[in-house]
Amino acid sequence: MSAAAPDVVGPDGGAGLPLSRRLGRALRARVRNGDLIRWLGRAGAVIPTLALAFILGTLIVKAWPAIRVNGWHFFTGSAFNEGSFYGATVKTNGIAHPPGVSYGALPEIVGTLETSAIALLIAVPVSIGAALVIVERLPRRLAVVVGMFLEMLAGIPSVIIGLWGGFTFGPFIANHIAPFIASHVPNVPGLDFLRGPTGSGQGLLTSGLILAIMIIPIIAATARDLIRQVPLLPREGAVALGMSDWECARRVTLPWVGSGIVGASVLGLGRALGETIAVAMVCGINLTTVATNLYGAMTTIAATIVTQLDGAFQDATGFALSSFAELGLVLMVITLLVNVAARLLVRRVSGTALPVGRGL
């Protein structure tokens, strides 16, 4: 064999060479003509899809017995009762479960949506405001420092936020914020939700605020980077036309990045819907009722799963685990629906932007 072995495989297909050398050559050829990258790319595109399909499939298979027994009661009932593990096993539709089971996930589902809604309601305006101020108002050096803190806030582990929420923030809300709001809201029918018993600091308001704190850095950091991308020219034009800062932000900057901000908000919402341990530590784990007002103890799907899973293992019939799989499935469907809705919203938002916002 010659020292300068040809890279191109000869007419004999390189049959005379040892197998390792032949494979090496074939590989080099593939890398050079781009086949390898193409296949890696295809695999990369397929794997996430397969993973999602696999997780959904597993959840559906595991949840199937629970779906058949629980029926629609799962979406309308409020008690989350695993039944008596020490009683004699009974059967419904041929599926074994402990006596006295009653799985109604209404408090979990409503709680998940309520906490996420509160978090978004607070986080989106705060984040956009923070991003605008950082980009357009603060001196460059200060903006860098503030931006750094914003990113550090995103890096705080959720269990730390949960600890702080449980021991410091929650009691502060119970002792100061909740009584203040409850006593100052006028006694009109529509506002009953903001009045009444102010609770213990573990509940809807605390959970929503904790989630807001956790998603503000996600939305704000993305919004800041987006707003930086808005060209100077249209903004200068707006100022030249006599627009105030607020008008400039509202009519030029924000329409320009509108779809991006919706996308950032959806990222934040996804985090809020699925956040587990921080919420579990501040929500009060009320498995039986939907919170009657803003301060009541409640629970979310993720918090219920993480705190109650250990007990579910003690159900010898496996029905409790199956019901938890159903709960997980519901959370996943909610998250997927939110994503689809956000995509539709993005299309609308980017369609309605002012001409000036779509470039000159």
Binding site: N81, F85, P99, F167, G199, G284, D310, G311, A316
Partner: protein, 313 residues
């Protein structure tokens, strides 16, 4: 169970160098599931296996290694005396029917004690817990009307009492109660040092005879004596609501859950040696006193040893 296992592990690994035991502080349910699946060699639990679990996993054994109790703690700085409770009053407190400390029902049990009008904040475990199981077992044994049998389990669908707090673990119960004036909580007696340090009150509990007792070594032993004679061969037994007049109402066997069929003869014999050690050297005051556990009575210890000897490879 976990802190004691940790102490046992450290001491045993020192004396028997060719066996290495590691402990994981998971909950009872995970411990049982892992023992059944053969992931771990031993699982710890405050609650015994249900008949359904036994039927599904014929090879699972629940073996008592020690005796523990649960106490009622409360945060009422002005009240120096030990308050008295019974199952009915506790069930009504936990279901939101009694909401203030000066409620007539509490006053009736505690004549002569000046009770404040402070609101009662009930604390319950947010995780699944053997302590929850023995506490609600006691409520139901004392008063099945106010606490139905269906509401007994390691996870309880708590009736919503206004302002109720959910806490993670015995430690969370202690710190939560310490931070909340007017709270009431049920906590494993292994946390007595912590509750005393946090200035929490300790409740006297009514037994079946209607006598009020604190969870002391003497009252736990008295309650134990009323049950240990009737402990069955598989050692599945509730020790709640003793009829002994000097006994304490909420005690339990601390179980280790093991699979009768181990992966090899070597693992089986190492496991048997360790479990027998926990019942002898491991049951001395050096190990049990720091967590306020009591050793098993001789008759139950013999039953545990018989169960241990049935483990094979």
């Amino acid at each position: 169970m976990f802190p004691l296992f940790g102490a046992w592990q450290t001491a045993y690994n020192k004396t028997v160098t060719n066996v290495n035991i590691t402990t994981a502080g998971t909950g009872s349910g995970t411990g049982i599931a892992d023992a059944a699946a053969g992931v771990v060699t031993m699982g710890g639990s405050d609650a015994y296996l249900s008949s359904a679990e036994m039927a599904q996993n014929h090879n699972l054994l629940n073996i008592p290694l020690a005796v523990s109790a649960a106490m009622i703690s409360y945060n009422l700085p002005g009240v120096k005396a030990n308050l008295k409770f019974n199952g009915t009053v506790l069930a009504k407190i936990y279901s939101g029917k009694i909401t203030t400390w000066n409620d007539p029902a509490i006053k009736a049990l505690n004549p002569g004690v000046a009770l404040p009008s402070t609101k009662i904040v009930t604390l319950h475990r947010s995780d699944s817990s053997g302590t929850t199981f023995i506490f609600v077992s006691y409520l139901s044994a004392q008063d099945p009307t106010d606490w139905p049998v269906g509401q007994v389990g390691t996870t309880v669908s708590w009736p919503s009492a206004p302002g109720a707090l959910a806490e993670l673990g015995n430690g969370g119960m202690v710190s939560g109660c310490a931070a909340t004036k007017g709270c009431i909580a049920y906590i494993g007696t292994s946390y007595l040092t912590q509750t005393t340090a946090a200035h929490l009150g300790e409740g006297e509990l009514a037994n079946k005879a209607g006598k009020f007792e604190l969870p002391t070594p003497a009252s736990i032993q008295a309650a134990l004596a009323s049950f240990s004679g009737s402990t069955p061969a598989n050692e599945t037994q509730s020790l709640i609501n003793t009829s002994a007049p000097t006994g304490y109402g909420i005690i339990n066997y601390e179980y280790v859950i093991v699979n009768k069929k181990q992966s090899s003869a070597a693992v089986a014999s190492a496991l048997k040696a360790f479990l027998n050690w926990t019942l002898t050297t491991g049951s001395t005051a050096t190990f049990l006193a720091p967590v306020n556990f009591q050793p098993l009575p001789a008759s139950v210890k013999a039953l545990s040893q018989t169960q241990i000897s049935s483990i094979s490879g």
